[in-house]
């Protein structure tokens, strides 16, 4: 028996951000029960920021994994925590205002958001496939509740049921993939599987089946092309800021987890796997962008655009280890601009009665700040410099070209031209559309104003100085944590 209670204490210190978030979540639950509702968003936001700070606090890490190789704490793991926590913070800026406008005082949202982020962190930083799966289920269940949050509304019910049924289906694929990988190697731990990679290729058919099922499970979660069908319906039924969170935070976690597993397995040496991912990337980019052109509803438009963005990230993933930094960078930038766009749609939703695109005609004159902020996010999503969206796309394309995926990069660039059409079409509607709607215009209150301002500044800042994020990413990736600690 070589068990030592001191180990567990050490490990608990290593996963302090997760434990801290857990405490915050439980506290929010108590606050909900004790009717201290008004300060819940603040506590949730501060808790997320606190967890992010705990993650990057410079400290000596004695080993790269905590809990006997279950959770990764070294390498890029602390930054993953920061990014995922930030996606939650951005969402919280828009939530209280949205729920107030909808007259739906549902305070479980904040608790669920915290628990969802715990699940995402666990999944992104897992170094054991079972932890990956548990993390996935933890945040998925929270997201199913988010989709069905307005339980009296038919669209919300539809979204919840659709997401739940298809999500459960995808989880089954993922679990079968994991169990086959276990059957092949006898391990669920990623490092052990990587060390016994020869066992994987003993039986190529079974190996490709298992890893294929695994990829299918994740492609569903990131809504890549053949598994995208749920996306528009679910996003349009989900409360708008939470749909933004769904499209960013959960996808970021899923991409990090998928990327980690594939890179540990050194997947770029198997052409078949790269081709599968490349195919999914191409089809997602083409399908998402082409179908988005025809959309009249803003939430559906953003949903299709999110399918297209998934394609771009998959393109970076195809580049293997070299593209992984680009993948995380892209997802972080996408998180900023997409939560901003969804948040603005949420603000306009109540004032303009629905999310129909025609209602936005003439907003450029009636609500100049609002329209300017939306234009900024849309320009950024279209990938126009000097906004951050350009830098993220650039990184992904460079990574793809660097790994010899020229065709992928060309298709990516061509489809982003299509994307520019529908993003800029909305801007045209806002500024040059005939103003037919009555004299109501969306307004910011101080939380949403602060949120939009912060996101807009981040978009501009990271568009001009992308190294602010890229540099730490590269440093953490190469394992020189002490250098980063000095930089902080």
């Amino acid at each position: 028996m070589n068990f030592n209670p001191g180990d567990i204490v050490n490990f608990s210190v290593m996963v302090a951000p997760i434990l801290f978030l857990l405490a915050v979540g439980l506290m929010l639950m108590l606050m909900d029960v004790l009717k201290a509702h008004s300060s819940m968003p603040l506590i949730a936001g501060l808790g997320l920021i606190g967890a992010g700070v705990l993650a990057v606090l410079p400290e000596k890490i004695s080993s790269m994994q905590a809990f006997y190789g279950m959770i990764e704490v070294g390498n890029i793991a602390p930054l993953n925590i920061v990014f995922l926590c930030l996606s939650g913070v951005f969402t919280i800026f828009f939530l209280p205002d949205y729920l107030k406008r909808q007259d739906k005082p549902i305070y479980e949202v904040y608790t669920l958001l915290i628990f969802a982020i715990i699940g995402m962190i666990m999944m992104a930083n897992a170094s054991d496939l079972l932890i990956t799966f548990i993390g996935l289920e933890t945040f998925s269940i929270a997201l199913y509740v988010f989709a069905a949050l307005f339980k009296k509304e038919e669209t919300s019910n539809e979204a919840g049921l659709k997401y739940f049924l298809l999500g459960a289906f995808a989880s089954a694929f993922l679990l079968l993939g994991i169990s086959l990988l276990y059957g092949l190697t006898g391990y669920t731990n990623l490092n052990d599987i990587a060390a016994n990679a020869s066992k994987l290729t003993d039986n190529p058919a079974l190996f490709f089946t298992s890893i294929g099922l695994f990829i299918i499970g994740f492609l569903f979660k990131v809504s890549a092309f053949p598994f995208h069908n749920w996306t528009p319906d679910v996003y349009s039924g989900t409360p708008t800021p939470l749909a933004g969170f769904m499209a960013t935070g959960s996808k970021m976690a899923a991409f990090i987890a998928l990327g980690t597993v594939l890179i540990k397995l050194n997947f770029t040496q198997y052409d078949k796997l790269v081709n599968v991912l490349a195919l999914a990337a191409i089809l997602s980019m083409i399908y998402g962008n082409v179908v988005a052109v025809r959309q009249k509803n803003l939430k559906r438009l953003l949903a299709y655009s999110s399918i297209a963005h998934t394609g771009y990230v998959l393109l970076g993933l195809c580049a293997g280890k070299a593209g992984f930094v680009a993948v995380i960078f892209y997802m972080f930038i996408y998180t900023i601009m997409n939560i901003g766009a969804f948040g603005l749609v949420g603000i306009a939703e109540r004032t303009l009665a629905d999310t129909d695109m025609d209602k936005w005609k003439g907003l450029g004159i009636k609500a100049p700040y609002f329209a300017a902020a939306m234009s900024l996010f849309l320009f950024s999503m279209a990938g126009i410099p000097p906004f951050a969206g350009f830098m993220s796309k650039y990184q992904v394309f460079i990574a793809a070209i660097g790994s010899g995926q020229i065709l992928l990069a060309v298709i990516g660039i061509l489809t982003s031209v299509i994307a520019a059409f529908y993003y800029i079409y909305l801007i045209v509607i806002m500024y040059f559309g005939k103003n037919e709607s009555p004299e109501v215009s969306p307004r910011f209150d101080w939380t949403t104003g602060l949120g939009v301002g912060l996101l807009a500044v981040l978009i501009l800042l990271l568009g001009i100085f992308p190294s602010l994020v890229l540099q730490p990413l590269l440093q953490y990736m190469s394992g020189s944590i002490s250098a980063v600690a000095a930089a902080f």
């Binding site: 030592n4 209670p5 439980l26 639950m29 108590l30």
Partner: protein, 170 residues
């Protein structure tokens, strides 16, 4: 541990003992229990739903809520069992100082978190079994209620009077 019985002998003893025990209990039940069969008792148990008819009916959502809450405590038991088996393990206690304190603290944290969950559902009112209220059909009647009461009082009084006259005590 050698009583002249092999390991399979133990199993056989358990089997025999179990069969005798179950037989005894069943017999006792037959002797002591009241026996009033009725069709309601003989139906298939379906969580309180009527088992006859289309299976595609709407179930009461409260069953699921109770099921979910039950699940929490099921999981709690699931974790307590393996913990209990090693909590008093002499070998571990000898090798690891502070084992008892550590294990107890760890399990306490787990139970407290679950307790918080119970508190949450309790305060939120999910433990209440709301009984459906019988809705009285609304009647539209131009005759005011006071008239009915008048008639009732009048005739009740008379019949009582008649009965007393006939020598019957009310």
């Amino acid at each position: 541990m050698n009583h002249g019985i092999s390991e399979f002998g133990h199993v056989l003893l358990y089997l025999a003992g179990g069969a005798i025990f179950i037989g005894l209990i069943a017999l006792l039940n037959k002797l002591l229990a009241p026996n009033h069969p009725n069709p309601e008792k003989l139906t298939t148990y379906e969580c309180g739903e009527d088992p006859v008819g289309n299976a595609n009916v709407q179930f009461n959502i409260r069953f699921y809520v109770v099921g979910l809450i039950f699940l929490i405590f099921d999981v709690e038991i699931l974790f307590l069992f393996p913990w209990a088996t090693i909590f008093a393990d002499v070998k571990i206690i000898q090798n690891v100082p502070l084992w008892g304190v550590f294990a107890l603290a760890e399990m306490s944290i787990f139970v407290v978190i679950l307790l918080l969950g119970l508190l949450y559902v309790w305060v939120k009112g999910d433990l209440e079994w709301i009984k459906p209220e019988a809705l009285e059909p609304e009647r539209i009647n131009p005759v005011p209620d006071s008239l009915y009461e008048e008639i009732n009082r009048k005739y009740t009084y008379q019949s009582t009077v008649k009965k007393t006259q006939a020598g019957v005590t009310p």
